[in-house]
Amino acid sequence: MTKEECKQVVIDIINDIAPDEDTTDLKPDVRLRDQLDLDSMDFLDIVMELRKQHGIEVPEADYQQLASLDSCAEYLTPKFNEKKAV
């Protein structure tokens, strides 16, 4: 999986959990919280959906890695690729 594909996975999840948010022009290097009306409960949903839809575990200590799309891609892409390799 490429980093761009990984970002799309995260955007798809946000569209699922917050259908009323506009995700079309998200800036990848800006915190998601600053661009969308997301709170810690919503980040929990992103984590849960990653687990449910993709079998990816994000421990609580790593939640801050999901701050922006860029940091999501940085953190999650290796996890996706590791999983594929197994």
Binding site: D37, D39, M41, D45, R51
Partner: protein, 477 residues
């Protein structure tokens, strides 16, 4: 060693299918947890249910859904709640109120879902206070009422620093206390902020079909998820060992285990279920009375608006000072809440088939419970008259004969009814005076949600179920 069959082992066991329990079940079910929801009563909804009498369906606890904001409003509790339960705003089918009022001797403050109305009313009635009221509003807006760890603060103390006129303080507290305070006399400032936002900055709405619409919606959502629900089957007891609840005994004799138990039945009520209980939550509880209420319902064969009764909710008080406390008498008719479920802006100008007048007043649980059956009926009839008479002083005048001619049904419930159907001690509607905001108990896997966690009302109890499910269920892995 005997291994327990898998079907008796759950990820989560939820006690009580009220608003809090159902919201928590949906949240957990959504993420594939194995959930068992237990309800002692035959129907769901708890304090917010409905019942049938003389062929008519009555809502128990719905005057107004608070926290109403239009679809798409950012950062609002209602928006969060819907998102977390994945229910659309349209599905909730809420219609906004007309206008409501706080009515004190010689002074009225009207408010609606547009905060500007309350602001202009304060400016009109309390011209000297308007700047201070605006700064109080700013303080409320920027206060983080959802901080579960914050210190306890007295609302009256903070209000007396922010405002000068005690009448304005009482007029603001009256509706906020009636709709969300478990405490006599004063409110926790956190709770004040929650309620100020819920009533004044946000607003009131109601689904055309009443509370059934909301409970049915939650039921449908639960059916789509791996939530097992057993009705007519309460939890009999919880067996504790080494700071943990090991086994749960159900009223039908079954024994189950769960990684986490979420109880929505109240703190002391929950403690009472724990066998071999290390004293838990009992200490200060018996000293402070729980607040209970009576409610009258009058049914008419015409719409209240035909009598000029066009407001949605009226909070009334006939005293110089507003006393929010357990009365010595069976009922305190000096203050209360009037609700006309007809007076919401329903779509296509639809109107309810009959007219309803609902009145709530503070009541004394112990006195109602002590009445023998025949006197109980007499007292109900007596206080019914008394409450309607008291409330009508605050409404456009109308001849008694006119009411008699159009009244086609009445009902009334008392603190006794509340305890009978929901198990809450002392007929409490808002639970114990002291709240446990983080939901923790001395048992590692037993968590409180709903009434005694501290978020009250319909919206509040659902948010409580959601946040406790998140905090103790989903976040901790």
């Amino acid at each position: 060693m005997v291994r327990r069959p898998r079907e008796d082992q759950y990820d989560f066991l939820i006690i009580g299918a009220g608003m809090a329990g159902m919201a928590a079940a949906i949240r957990l079910g959504h993420f594939g947890k194995k959930v068992l929801l237990l309800e002692r009563h035959a129907i769901i909804g708890g304090l917010n249910s409905f019942y049938k009498q003389d062929g008519r369906k009555y809502d128990v606890g719905l005057h107004a859904v608070t926290n109403y904001v239009p679809a798409g409003t950012k950062r609002a509790p209602l928006t969060k709640l819907l998102r977390q339960l994945r229910i659309s705003h349209a599905d909730l089918g809420l219609s906004p109120q007309n206008v409501s009022r706080v009515a004190f001797p010689g002074h009225d403050l009207r408010f609606s879902n547009d905060f500007a109305l309350l602001e202009s009313e304060v400016a009109r009635v309390f011209p000297k206070e308007i700047d201070r009221f605006r700064s109080l509003t700013e303080k409320v807006k920027s206060f983080d009422e959802l901080d579960l760890q914050g210190p306890k603060l007295s609302a009256r103390k903070i209000l007396s620093e922010e405002l000068h006129d005690p009448l304005l303080i009482d007029m603001l507290l009256c509706p906020l206390m009636y709709y969300g305070s478990a405490k006599e006399g004063d409110m926790d400032f956190y709770q004040f902020v929650i309620m100020f936002k819920a009533l004044f900055l946000e607003g009131f709405a109601r689904p055309f079909e009443g509370v059934r619409h909301i409970t049915q919606l939650l039921l449908r959502r639960m059916r789509e998820l791996p939530v097992e629900r057993i009705m007519n089957c309460g939890v009999q007891s919880l067996r504790a060992e080494e700071g943990e609840i090991k086994e749960v005994l159900l009223e039908n004799g079954r024994v189950v285990r769960a990684d986490c138990i979420l109880s929505t039945i109240g703190s002391v009520e929950t403690a009472a279920l724990v066998e071999n209980d290390v004293p838990f939550l009992r200490q200060n509880d018996e000293e402070t009375p729980r607040l209970s209420f009576v409610e009258t319902i009058s049914v008419f064969d015409q719409q209240p608006v035909d009598w000029g009764w066009d407001e949605t909710i009226v909070f009334f008080n006939d005293q110089e000072e507003f006393a929010y406390e357990q009365p010595d008498n069976l009922v305190d008719p000096r203050s209360g809440v009037i609700c006309f479920p007809n007076n919401y802006q329903y779509p296509d100008e639809k109107t309810l088939a009959e007219g309803f007048l609902r009145i709530t007043c503070l009541a004394n649980y112990d006195r109602w419970i002590a009445l023998p059956e025949d006197i109980y009926k007499e007292e109900k009839a007596r206080w019914f008259e008394e409450m309607v008479r008291s409330a009508r002083r605050f409404l456009p005048p109308l001849a008694d004969a006119e009411i008699e001619k159009h009244q086609v049904g009445t009902d009334m419930f008392t603190p006794r009814t509340i305890t009978k159907y929901t198990g809450h001690l002392g007929g409490a509607v808002y639970g114990a005076p002291e709240k446990i905001r983080d939901g923790k108990t001395p048992y590692r896997n037993l968590v409180l949600a709903g009434t005694d966690q501290g978020f009250l009302g319909i919206t509040g109890s659902m948010l409580s179920g959601i946040s406790m499910a998140n905090l103790h269920g989903l976040q901790s892995g």
